[in-house]
Symmetry: C2
């Protein structure tokens, strides 16, 4: 049986965001859930569109995701952040790729963080598919 | 020329949310933009998946939406809210219908509000299509 880990204390929303994506890439369910607030009102919306509400439902959704084959990697771009004393928000474009490097698509993500008595934690992750990027293909002959 | 309106001061996130959906239903662009913070970091993601960043881009996106035919109505369900001193979050399932009453679909929405010097304003609206609801059809004979 794995030794119980002491949950880390994240001192900023950025630290939680980093822990969230690292846990996602590593498929580490304990690390993933340490990034979330233990609250019945936390919310996770995966790109498939289902809304999971509450700690247990969010945990189950990640257990199911992590049970799948292969691993994912994330590169965040176009970050927009807002932060107040107790709540913070981050919007980003997630470039998702397989751990072998193949592109899997782009996702628009909204993350909301709350300062709890045990440091900053994630309370909301809303991910939805980004529309395909328009590629300008030259209309004339290439050469 | 329309008389310039004094922007209202919303004293709670709930008031802004109500103003947002009322302006959406009325296709009233000035009322809609009064619900938003005048900030270059505000973000609006419509169910089509495009992310609009900044006051001007968000305004343009609603001008384009409101130029379409017909009007929409919204009924919010399964609300989950979190509020701190300066920032608040709301998650809801939007049941969207045409003004004639026909159902248009379900949308998962995340709204984030900030307390500004001129009251609470919307800073983020992330909307994405909800998956079709599974209907339990009896597997045996109906009668």
């Amino acid at each position: 049986m794995a030794k119980p880990r002491t949950p880390p204390i994240y001192t900023s929303p950025q630290d939680v965001a980093l822990a969230f994506y690292q846990a996602f890439e590593a498929k580490d369910i304990e690390a993933m859930m340490s990034a979330w607030a233990e609250d019945e009102d936390i919310i996770c919306i995966h790109p498939s569109g289902t809304r999971h509400v509450g700690y247990d439902a969010v945990r189950q959704s990640f257990e199911q995701l992590f049970a799948g084959e292969g691993k994912l990697g994330f590169r965040l771009e176009d970050l927009v952040s807002m932060e107040t004393v107790g709540l913070a928000m981050q919007s980003a474009i997630e470039h998702v790729h397989s751990s072998q490097g193949g592109a899997r698509g782009m996702v628009i993500a909204t993350n909301v963080f709350m300062r709890t008595p045990t440091g900053w934690r994630l309370v909301m992750h809303h991910a939805s598919p980004a529309p395909p990027v328009a590629v300008n293909v030259p209309s004339g002959p290439l050469h």
